[in-house]
């Protein structure tokens, strides 16, 4: 490497890292998928009530909200950042949709769009704080989490907003385009496909990985890293906004006090799915599987009537196992 400039070195490193990331990502996906299958088999054998159509639909439905949050989180985490505000931005979006639809009596579709835009606006603000003001993502999104949490309560007057006058709103999540399967599941899976295409086939996706692998090299090679970071955080906000609509639709109400702690479930799903918290590696399929593992685990443990305090302990251990397996494989290289 004698004689090469720092820039060239870094770009070479970026490429090497990227290749490694792609390889281990695939393995992690297989491992995560295998654990999911094992969990399903174990629970099916333990209880005859687990592998039943209604329960499987229930599992998918309970994955939808956290799953959509996790899809959005995947992008920022791959850039090496973090978004702690996804849960409360979700709540903020649902409250905004409630305000637009129920207080201002603007049409339902515009309310839905408005709610999602509110999420995008929060993401945009976080992005500006991170990229322009150079506030560390952890701090910027922590602040955003508090701001949206408070604003949701202020705007709603600490009261839930009900959508009873708009029966079509509940159909967004609970209507059934395909008999037996609530729309929320289809929306979650559809968004998964879209997110996967964005991450693997578009410029946004390519820069998401590049930022996480080596931000400085990416910047030096002429990429406007500030702009792309803002784009990525805004996109995460859009996903939170959609999750907000899904949640409000399922509960037929915008609950201003919900949402705290959801960001941690989302991050756990992303990490179990093999996305590295240090950035540069990860996949959408992994995140979807990670989210499913979380909900299969909680559902199965509930069906077996495991004491709730132990359920939490077990989920904690699963996260350690998943991440440690990932680290072991990386070390082998």
């Amino acid at each position: 490497m004698k004689g090469t400039t720092i820039v060239e070195k870094q770009i070479v490193q970026t490429h090497q890292k990227k290749k490694a990331a792609a390889g281990s990502g695939a393995k992690q996906k297989i491992l995560a998928f295998a654990s999911l299958i094992v969990l399903i088999v174990v629970f099916s054998l333990s209880s005859s009530n687990f592998f039943v159509f209604d329960n499987l639909v229930g599992i998918m439905l309970s994955t939808a909200v956290i799953g959509v949050l996790a899809l959005g989180s995947t992008f920022v985490i791959i850039t090496g950042g973090i978004d702690l505000s996804v849960g409360t931005v979700m709540t903020f979006s649902s409250v905004m949709a409630g305000v637009i639809i129920n207080f201002w009596h603007v049409s339902l579709p515009l309310g839905v769009i408005g709610g999602i835009l509110a999420g995008a606006l929060c993401g945009l603000t976080s992005g500006l704080m991170v990229a322009k003001m150079k506030i560390p993502p952890f701090i910027a999104t922590l602040a955003m989490m508090m701001i949206t949490k408070g604003l949701s309560l202020v705007i709603s007057g600490t009261k839930p907003i009900y959508f009873n006058d708009y029966p079509n709103f509940a159909k967004i999540s609970m209507g059934k385009l395909i008999p037996g399967i609530p729309n929320a599941i289809l929306i979650f899976l559809g968004l998964g496909v879209i997110a996967s295409i964005i991450l693997t086939k578009t410029l946004i996706g390519r820069y998401t990985f590049a930022l996480g692998s080596n931000e400085e090299a990416t910047r030096l090679s002429g990429v406007n890293t500030v702009r792309w970071k803002i784009v990525i955080y805004t996109m995460t906000g859009v996903f939170s906004g959609i999750a907000g609509i899904l949640m409000a639709s399922r509960l037929n109400s915008a609950q201003p006090a919900l949402g705290s702690g959801y960001e941690l479930d989302a991050i756990a799903a992303v990490v179990i799915g093999g996305t590295s918290l240090s950035g540069g590696a990860g996949s959408i399929l992994g995140t979807v599987i990670g989210a499913l593992i979380m909900s299969v685990l909680t559902n199965g443990l509930r069906i077996l009537s495991v004491a709730p305090e132990w359920q939490t302990v077990i989920v904690g251990f699963v996260i350690i196992l998943a991440v440690y397996a990932d680290i072991l494989r990386r070390r082998k290289r």
């Binding site: 209880s47 009530n49 687990f50 039943v52 209604d54 329960n55 229930g58 439905l61 309970s62 909200v65 309560l153 600490t158 009261k159 839930p160 009900y162 009873n164 609970m174 609530p182 949640m247 399922r250 509960l251 037929n252 109400s253 609950q255 201003p256 006090a257 919900l258 705290s260 909900s295 909680t298 559902n299 509930r302 069906i303 077996l304 009537s305 709730p308 305090e309």
Partner: protein, 320 residues
């Protein structure tokens, strides 16, 4: 340039604090009696109803109150801080709904030493410091829910519970009140599962669905607070088991009263949240004046269902 940015930042912070200062109402200063009311929360509709009761009493007796509480019922530490701050303001009396009465004991003793009367509300404090406690007897109320459950499902079958948490006083009292009544009076009814959803509607919905999957013969479901009860209603609706499972709830709120009206929920226990708030302040005023106050003010509870939901007795107790 650098200095200019500093000035802008400083100016922004100054203006922010001024605006916030102007927004907050003065606690004191007009010479009126000041009674801080420290509740267990402020976000739930239940606490908003308690607050309106407290404000009603404040108006009636011409005293100043502040009403605050932590975000969730597990934040014992935050509540203790609020109690500490309230005591530092040297109030005339204090109304306090303890999340953990033992944790608050040192501060309550300090209040007693400073001759500040303490009124407990919502749940009792395990000490003789409070001059009075305005609360619902949650054990008895949950036992009534158990009796109603037994009556409706015909004295036998499987039932399950979703409770908000297993550490708070109300959670424990309602769970045990229901459980002990069933176990001692109705041997043919079996409690198959008790789970905790933190009062989170979404989580309680998924929990209730899992329980219904695990116990296909379930005949009855008790949700021990508003969020838990609505979770059960959602679950029954989603699994289309309306009419097959008897749901009994707790407190009110629009979704719960709607479910009672539509028949999805058989009925629910309502406390008197406005009465709890009203009595906490009224008892404080009486204590300040040195009047005799009942040690235990039972604010009561009632069963409501489709038939009496709009009656004069029940209607004022329900909140939306």
């Amino acid at each position: 340039m650098k200095r200019k940015q500093w000035f802008i930042l400083l100016a922004m912070m100054l203006s922010l604090t001024t605006v916030l200062g102007a927004c907050s109402s003065g606690d004191k200063g007009d010479g009126k009696t000041y009674i801080p009311v420290i509740s267990k929360g402020f976000q739930h509709q239940f606490w908003q109803a308690v607050k309106s009761g407290a404000e009603k009493a404040a108006k009636e007796f011409d005293v100043n109150i502040t009403f605050e509480g932590p975000e969730t019922e597990s934040q014992v530490d935050k509540q203790i801080e609020m109690l500490q701050t309230a005591l530092d303001k040297k109030p005339s009396a204090i109304a306090f709904a303890a999340l953990d009465s033992k944790a608050a004991l040192p501060l309550l003793e300090k209040a007693k030493a400073n001759n500040i009367p303490v009124i407990g509300f919502d749940s009792g404090v395990d000490s003789d410091i409070p001059v009075a406690t305005a609360a619902t007897d949650n054990v008895k109320a949950a036992a009534l829910a158990a009796d109603k459950m037994a009556e409706i499902i015909g004295g036998s079958g499987e039932v399950a519970l979703i409770v908000h948490d297993q550490t708070s006083r109300t959670g424990i009292d309602r769970r045990d009140g229901f459980k002990n009544q069933i176990e001692s009076k109705y041997p043919d009814i079996k409690i198959v599962d008790i789970q905790y959803g933190g009062g989170d509607q979404l989580k309680s919905t998924d929990l209730a669905k899992a329980i219904m999957q695990a116990h296909p013969n379930l005949k009855g479901f008790f949700g021990a607070n508003e969020g838990s009860a609505i979770g059960v209603v959602n679950a029954v609706n989603e699994l289309k088991k309306n009419g097959q499972i008897t749901i009994i709830g707790y407190d009110s709120g629009k979704q719960q009263t709607d479910a009672v009206r539509s028949g999805t929920m058989a009925g629910a226990i309502t406390q008197d949240p406005i009465g709890i708030g009203y009595w906490s302040v009224k008892a404080a005023v009486m204590a300040i004046k040195g009047e005799a106050v009942d040690k235990n003010i039972d604010t009561g509870f009632h069963w409501y269902d489709k038939n009496n939901i709009d009656s004069d007795e029940i209607k004022p107790l329900l909140y939306d």
